[in-house]
Symmetry: C2
Subunit: 338 residues, 2 copies
């Protein structure tokens, strides 16, 4: 059976036991249709298949590529493109392949694209405080009328309170979510429909309005979430090799750099050291105790904690599955690109 | 003939005329063996092939994957792994395929790996000021002796003055390079050999010691280099679509985020706006003149300038080639991963 050091570093490793616990924790709070797992977090049909076996059959996507991959893998029964698109021809191709796709819209242009692509069902995407897509509450009525006039069904509304995911204090976070969801509730009262799609890992059990939560990171957990007090654990690490040590042991260099992890949420964290700076294919580490038993040696395998899971996974072709120190296969990351 | 808006955004586009000018500028200063193009910048055998046609037959790599890809494409006559590795078995496989590979070493462990991998020729990698691999000058003699005792040929020394690439003032940069190269010169006097491999785009015409310069970014140019006064122009942009506009036009959102560009050198730059924040698949833009003729509209194609080329290219499967507003094919980015 293969062990961690049998593979070329750097690579991403998932601790299967932690992954499974995270999944079970989510299931205990949000099972079945009350969660719409967000495929953008993991970009893997293998993982989407595991989620389907765990009772989640509706998926949320950020790109048409993710939608297409799920459809090709037989996971296209209930898909939501939780993002704006103008690419009518690729929507049309999905519809022609029998996919059941609902599309988020926030403008006449995106409504036109959905219509032209043969889409039947849309969600009105509403800005609930994160300045990133979503129409203004004032425009919900006009856009709803416009969409219905085009013959589209409005299944409901969507509004992502992404600006609140990392609010450290739970009570503050809850209050923020309530305020954001008040906007979405009003939008819903105007637009109608059965679905209120919102939320993410940071608000999965705080959002009382949403009929479905869009979460994906909970399976792996960004280190950034560690300040938020969520019941999920970090399951993902970057496995890297120490390839160089400074003479006085004041620094060690590993073979994982910004080509193998995202730094938009900060640098990765590790045991017994702090990353001083990152290059393309290296990170320079200052050891916490350079002269101790825990000092780094050339050839050591280290594991870096992942600040931001989604864009880190998107840099790798696969996730290596670990259990009790051994490699138990891998999951392909097959939905990368656009 | 296809135009920019015929492709799914986001994608990377290379302006062929600028790319060609950058190449010719480099050739006028460093032709033939005085430049060893760094494949890590572009990770593309198509581009390596163009460089070979332009008289550059020796290449520099950061990963074994890059070496393997060049060898498989018939570009393996003179390769340098300008990085430390402990993976003897993959070195062995390259040697068995007839590749001519020189490997950088900075420790007994990396020397042992080179020997075990059947490598004949090494460069002693020396720390010249950037705290990222390279042995201390004090260790050059012992490591040289160790390598020779193992039967390896020391072809020379390598030392990357990466800490000086972005020193804004040319005279300061030149002075810094001279100081760093003094270390490498001493190392060379101890280790021997014909090669002194050093430098990068920021110091390509300032490094007077190096027999060969390791540069790759000059073909595309990071926006970060714009402060340094180099004779190269930016040839690479991220093509993206505006997918949402706020009601009062105070913000626009495009479909390119941290999954399509690196942010370790800052956020991308664009005409008529400033990026406020980046998400996985979006950037939120504050327009410079929201009410003017240059205001963004849903469906507009925009082009983002690239802060850091190398890790941005590594996120994409191909580079789209543009000339006079039309698409003239593409170059595959086939050396990604490890």
């Amino acid at each position: 059976m293969r062990k961690l050091n049998d593979l070329q570093t750097p690579y991403l490793a998932v601790d299967l036991d932690i992954f499974q616990r995270n999944l079970e924790t989510m299931q205990s709070v949000r099972s079945g249709s009350s969660l719409r797992p967000h495929v953008k977090a993991f970009k893997s049909t293998d993982i989407a298949g595991i989620l389907k076996q765990s009772g989640y059959s509706g998926f949320c996507c950020a790109t048409i590529k993710e939608l297409e991959g799920l459809v090709a893998s037989g996971l296209g029964d209930d898909l939501l493109l939780a993002n704006e698109t103008l690419n009518a021809s690729r929507l049309r191709s999905l519809v022609d392949h029998g996919a059941q796709v609902t599309v988020a819209v926030d403008s006449t242009e995106t409504i036109d694209a959905a219509k032209e692509g043969g889409i039947r069902n849309v969600l009105l995407d509403v800005n609930v405080g994160l300045p990133r897509c979503g129409c203004d509450l004032k425009d919900v009525e006009n856009l709803s009328t416009y969409a219905r006039r085009k013959g589209l069904n409005i299944l409901g509304v969507m509004g992502y309170e992404g600006h609140l995911m990392f609010t450290p204090d739970r009570a503050d976070r809850k209050q923020g979510v309530a305020k954001a969801m008040q906007v979405l509730k009003e939008a819903h009262s105007i637009a109608g429909g059965d679905i209120i799609s919102a939320g993410g890992t940071g608000t999965f059990d705080l959002n009382e309005l949403a009929t479905e939560i869009q979460a994906g990171s909970f399976l792996f957990m960004d280190t950034r979430y560690s300040t938020v007090g969520l019941p999920f654990e970090e399951s993902l690490t970057i496995v890297s090799t120490i390839i160089s040590i400074e003479r006085d042991q004041s620094r060690a260099v590993c073979d994982a750099g910004v080509k193998s992890f995202a730094t938009d949420y900060g640098k990765p964290k590790l045991k017994n050291g702090v990353i001083e700076f990152c290059s393309d294919e290296h990170s320079t580490i200052v050891p916490t105790e350079p002269r101790s038993e825990t000092a780094f040696k050339v050839g050591d395998l280290i594991r870096l904690r992942v600040p931001h899971v989604d864009p880190t996974i998107a840099k790798h072709p696969r996730l290596v599955c670990l259990q009790e120190g051994y490699i138990r296969g891998d999951w392909k990351v097959d939905l990368r690109g656009w």
